[in-house]
């Protein structure tokens, strides 16, 4: 019976995503290719001093991305440090330097890792004027970079790849803002709060007291999910009844996380002039998603391990209204995108269940991945797959009519090395430096033994992949983790972006070569299978030893 309800729930989700795939994908293609500027946009461009009709080289585009992100970090850092003097701060003090640094990077990089407990740290001003703003614009930056790469495939002999400021503005004003307004209102109808009431003290029927929080939550919740951000208004994130009151709001939040990433392949297909290419990418993403979801759901339903066996089911860290499947579906969607929101506590999952979110992130978050970052991550893997196929048959690889020469393959190869290096080096250093190890094991790790290693491995996997979810028992508000995870988030976001934009520039400069009988078709099931295999094998080879020391060892003990 449970399985039946689970399948109907997935079928509903799939139905929603199928219904929006074409309209949303086509709409995004329209946004990023239209020559027309809205009146409000023209005013905005004048105000910031940008000519919307001029296109940029990849280097200029990149400078825009980096300048905008750096300014974003500085402003967000400043807002947090000034919390004490801002209105609606609920009497909360300025946020300390190390935590402000970590949080500023976290939200600008679309990670939304939270080293802090928002309930007792962040007042309303920081939440809405600082964090929510980055929820919008960091998402728009991610989509912009993906679109720039798609233009690399679509353009011929072009020195430019679009205009960053135009892509940023249109993504924000035409896509994220209207959808957020709509969904925020629906969320309020479902019970998500939206007020400036502060804490309301009530006397309970047993004569005790309870201090019930307020806050502008719905407005933040909408963009938190839609922009695959994931930073909760409350510590419990989407498990908190005020963020996610019912099973249907939970499904809506899952739809929101997946809407843009799963529709971007359509945008890609449309822009390169071959919708079948979009379907192929979609098929790869969907295959990985379904397999991963099934694995996590089965592990949690079986409920192996001492505590779930003793209690009778793996309900520690799960909410009754969502149940086990409502939790695993959310957890899978959240970690296969770069969202990192949680409606159940991953730290309390069964050992093998807890391994799944980790593996999802280690895949590089490409199925379907974060807004924008998922598409460009998958296109990089497609380039690797085409290259491997080319090696097998001894031909120069081409993808979408573009030759993949040494420069392109080098950029793609470095791309897939960046995040694993950050994850493994960060985890290793946490235990290799004696002083750090003492601090990590005595202060930060919550569950001792193998599970403790998993907590640290999860943290670096989450940070370097810009996910933001956690094995939340880990106390990360320490100098080591604030700094090391901050660096991992920063490098994990921007080094890949540099490589992607360089790749976009070099692809755009090429002419298109016509397909011949020897060209590998990249829209057939054969290629879909190859790309799934490449994605999985790269992860398996990279992370297997680390996984063995943590969740696998705990699960097989």
């Amino acid at each position: 019976m449970d399985t039946f309800f689970a399948i109907v729930q997935v079928a509903t989700l799939v139905l929603f995503l199928v219904l929006i795939y074409r309209p949303l994908g086509d709409y995004m293609a329209h946004i990023y290719t239209s020559k027309h500027n809205l009146k409000a946009e023209r005013g905005f461009y004048r105000m910031i001093g940008v000519n919307p009709d001029s296109e940029q080289t990849w280097r200029a585009y990149l400078r825009g991305v980096l300048a905008f992100s750096l300014i974003g970090v500085l402003i967000l850092y400043g807002i947090q440090r000034l919390q004490a003097v801002l209105p609606y701060s609920l009497g909360m003090p300025a946020i300390p330097e190390g935590l402000s640094f970590n949080t500023a990077i976290s939200f600008v990089t679309n990670t939304n890792w939270q080293s802090y407990s928002p309930d007792v740290t962040m007042g309303y001003s920081v939440q809405l004027a600082g964090l929510a703003v980055q929820n919008f614009v960091s998402a728009a930056v991610g989509i912009a970079v993906a679109i720039a790469l798609v233009r690399g495939f679509a353009y011929r002999r072009s020195g430019t790849i679009g205009n960053f400021w135009v892509d940023l503005t249109r993504g924000t004003l035409r896509l994220l803002l209207p959808l957020s307004i709509l969904t925020a209102i629906v969320l309020i109808a479902g019970g998500v709060i939206q007020n400036f009431n502060g804490f309301t003290d009530v006397t309970t029927i047993t004569g005790g007291t309870q201090s019930i929080p307020g806050g502008p939550v719905a407005s933040q919740e909408a963009i938190k999910m839609l922009g695959t951000n994931g930073g909760g208004f409350f510590n419990a994130n989407s498990a908190h009844p005020f963020e996610n009151p019912t099973a249907w709001t939970s499904l809506l939040q899952i739809v929101l996380m997946l809407a843009i990433p799963f529709s971007l392949p359509r945008t890609f297909g449309k822009m390169v002039g071959d919708n079948k290419q979009g379907y192929a990418i979609l098929a790869v993403m969907s295959t990985i998603f379904v397999v991963s979801l099934s694995a996590l759901s089965i592990f949690e339903k079986i409920g192996a391990g001492s505590a779930p066996q003793l209690a009778g089911a793996a309900m520690e860290g799960k909410e009754d209204r969502f149940g086990i499947f409502g939790s695993t579906l959310f957890g899978t969607a959240s970690t296969l995108t770069s969202t990192g929101a949680v409606n159940s506590m991953h730290d309390s999952y069964t050992a093998l269940g807890g391994m799944m979110p980790m593996l999802n992130m280690m895949l590089g978050e490409v199925a379907p991945g974060g807004v924008g970052s998922g598409l460009y991550g998958m296109l990089i893997l497609a380039i690797i797959a085409v290259f491997i196929a080319g090696l097998l048959v001894g031909r120069t690889p081409e993808y979408l009519g573009k030759k993949l020469g040494p420069r392109e393959i080098k950029l793609a190869s470095i791309y897939i090395l960046v995040t694993p290096t950050l994850v493994l080096a960060g985890t290793a250093l946490s235990f290799a430096i004696p002083a750090v190890r003492d601090d990590v094991t005595s202060t930060s790790i919550w569950n001792s033994g193998l599970h403790g290693l998993s907590e640290v491995l999860y943290a670096f996997t989450s940070a370097a992949n810009n996910n933001g979810s956690a094995f939340a028992g880990l106390t990360a508000n320490t100098p080591w983790f604030n700094t090391a995870l901050g660096a991992a988030m920063l490098l994990g976001r921007f080094v890949p972006m540099v490589l992607v934009l360089a790749l976009a520039g070099s692809l755009a400069a090429q002419d298109k070569v016509p397909a011949t009988a020897g060209t590998l078709p990249t829209h057939r099931p054969q290629f879909v299978g190859l790309l799934v295999a490449v994605t999985v094998v790269i992860v398996a080879l990279t992370y297997f030893p680390a996984i063995t020391l943590g969740p696998l060892a705990e699960g097989l003990k």
Binding site: Q9, I48, G49, R63, A67, I75, S117, L128, A129, A132, V133, F136, L168, T169, S180, I181, A184, I185, I188, A189, G190, G191, I193, N195, F196, T200, I205, Q210, I212, P213, P216, F234, A236, A239, P241, A247, W248, S306, A307, A311, G312, A313, A314, M315, E316, G317, E319, D320, R321, F322, G326, M345, S348, Y349, T350, A351, G354, W446, N447, H451
Partner: protein, 202 residues
């Protein structure tokens, strides 16, 4: 035009853009949504607060503990799930326990909770559902499973000197089926159930 000047100009553009975005996305957007919420759906926007008699006693969405000041379960009320939020159902400090599946503290806590429920509700441990002995993700779960409500019915009826049927009736009223018939799980709202109990007593 030198590269360094172009690069410098980008920062100036970025700064102005961030200021405008902060005003539009931070302030105007939040104000718009707050306005709509407060005008069109004030009950939900303000936390779905509920009353017992004339007094506001909590939110229908936020769980509470029904214990004495030392944390001992009060037998005349339906009990919520264990909670890791502060000292239990501290709505200002939402949190799960984050105990891993092999954590010895968690194992001890589960065993202790099972003993306590077996004693208070006079049921074998094998009949105690998992949600009764595990902490939720938020620590503020307003619900228990219908199974956990069932094993508490006899205790409530005895302590309050009520017919079992009447208590069963209240449980049925506080039970919500799956959303739309297939989403999530059937649940019992503990605070609403206890408010109905209180109304019966007075």
């Amino acid at each position: 035009m030198s590269t360094s000047r172009t690069a410098g100009r980008q920062y100036w553009v970025a700064l102005r853009a961030m200021i405008v975005f902060t005003i539009v996305l931070g302030i105007a957007y939040t104000a718009l949504i707050t306005g709509i919420g407060q005008l069109a759906m004030p009950a939900q926007a303000n936390g779905s607060m509920i009353k017992s008699g004339d007094a506001v006693v909590g939110s229908a969405l936020i769980g509470q503990s029904f214990t004495d000041s030392d944390g001992n379960a009060l037998p005349e009320w339906f009990q919520s799930r264990p909670s890791a939020a502060g000292d239990g159902y501290d709505a200002a400090a939402s949190s799960g326990s984050n105990y891993g599946p092999e954590n010895s503290d968690l194992l001890a806590a589960i065993a202790e909770r099972q003993q306590a429920i077996a004693a208070s509700d006079n049921v074998p441990i094998s009949e105690i559902p998992a949600d009764a002995v595990t902490a939720s993700a938020s620590g503020l779960d307003p619900h228990i499973s219908p199974e956990y409500a069932q094993i508490q019915v006899a205790r409530i009826a005895a302590v309050r000197d009520l017919p079992v049927d009447e208590v069963q009736h209240l449980v049925a009223n506080a039970t919500t089926p799956r959303d739309l018939g297939f989403l999530g799980e059937p649940v019992v709202n503990v605070l609403q159930l206890n408010i109905a109990l209180a109304a019966l007593g007075s």
